[in-house]
Symmetry: C2
Subunit: 195 residues, 2 copies
């Protein structure tokens, strides 16, 4: 026997480095060497931790979703009233702060990578549909009088609004500032309440 490595720790550290590089240098700059340098290790460690580059991307994408899902869980639990819970979930999903905007850039990068990689596309679909279901359930609690169709339509619109805000803020943070995003979400919530 000999020294035991911290596999899970390496995976998480390399995934974090992947996010960082992806946010800063985009998809084209996301090389194994750049990830290794950002993580402070060699490219050898990267491919001892993951079988290949795609596996690294898949792990980073999955971990990103788990983080956001946990954050959404916390936001959802914080709100007592159904509408407050819905607001909290939508607001934390939007890219208000700087680190959230970095996360939005990473999200756009993974989205573009999913255009060519079927596995990443599968992951994106699964995660986005889970988010859609979450909003749908919150919406049903807010408006139990709505039909399932109407609830579904409204959930689709809310999710599209939030992800559209994120995507646009990733490249144009001035126009889509935190205040502009909050105002847009608040207006959409107002519609939910009033209609």
């Amino acid at each position: 026997m000999a020294r035991r490595r911290d596999l899970q720790g390496h995976q998480e550290r390399l995934s974090a480095a992947t996010w960082s590089v992806l946010a800063e240098h985009g998809l084209a700059g996301l090389t194994l060497r750049a990830v290794a340098e950002r993580a402070g290790c060699s490219t050898g460690l990267v491919l001892h931790t993951f079988p290949d580059k795609q596996a690294l991307l898949v792990h980073a994408r999955t971990l990103l979703h788990e983080r956001t899902a946990a954050r959404a869980d916390a936001a959802q639990a914080s709100g007592l009233e159904p509408l407050d819970a819905l607001r909290a979930v939508l607001m934390q999903a939007a890219s208000g702060s700087d680190d959230k905007r970095e996360e939005a850039r990473v999200w756009v990068g993974f989205l573009a990578a999913a255009l060519a990689d079927p596995e990443l596309a599968r992951l994106h679909q699964a995660h986005n549909r889970a988010f859609l279901r979450r909003i749908q359930h919150l919406l049903a609690a807010c408006r139990p009088d709505w039909s399932q169709d109407q609830t579904m339509r409204s959930a689709t619109a809310l999710v599209s609004l939030v992800e559209g805000l994120n995507a646009l803020a990733a490249v144009d943070p001035e126009t889509y500032s935190a205040a502009a995003q909050q105002a847009a979400i608040e207006a959409a919530l107002h519609q939910i309440r009033a209609e």
Copy 2:
């Protein structure tokens, strides 16, 4: 003197090939060789038509915007009532048909490329802000009683909704079908009318 080349024709053909490759193989598959093969020419012609790869991307991005702007102009002119004009513009911007969905994939690709390329980011901002202003003006015609702030907020929400629908439909066309997109846009328009 000798034979004269069709510079503009080559530029347009290569830009179209760029869109096609970008939609099918993503950012990573967007190589000069792939573009040349799709256009049915050699890589030499590509770099005789454009100084380098970035210039090709910039031209393709600009041409894409001009096409969509022309289509938006046509949609805007077709509607007699202000609300109908707004509806027509939003609907043509959404990715209902198959070729529109391909366009949405291209848009996502350029968006991700803009994360690392400042020039592409500049173009994206300019084009998106122009679209935002267009919606803002249409909205002002629909609701002259609204304040400028309220008009601006609503325009931001509408643009984010449409671009979010496009981005999500690019990777998950089943969930974000043409019908789902139209329903989401129609619901947003209903809010404009009712509020």
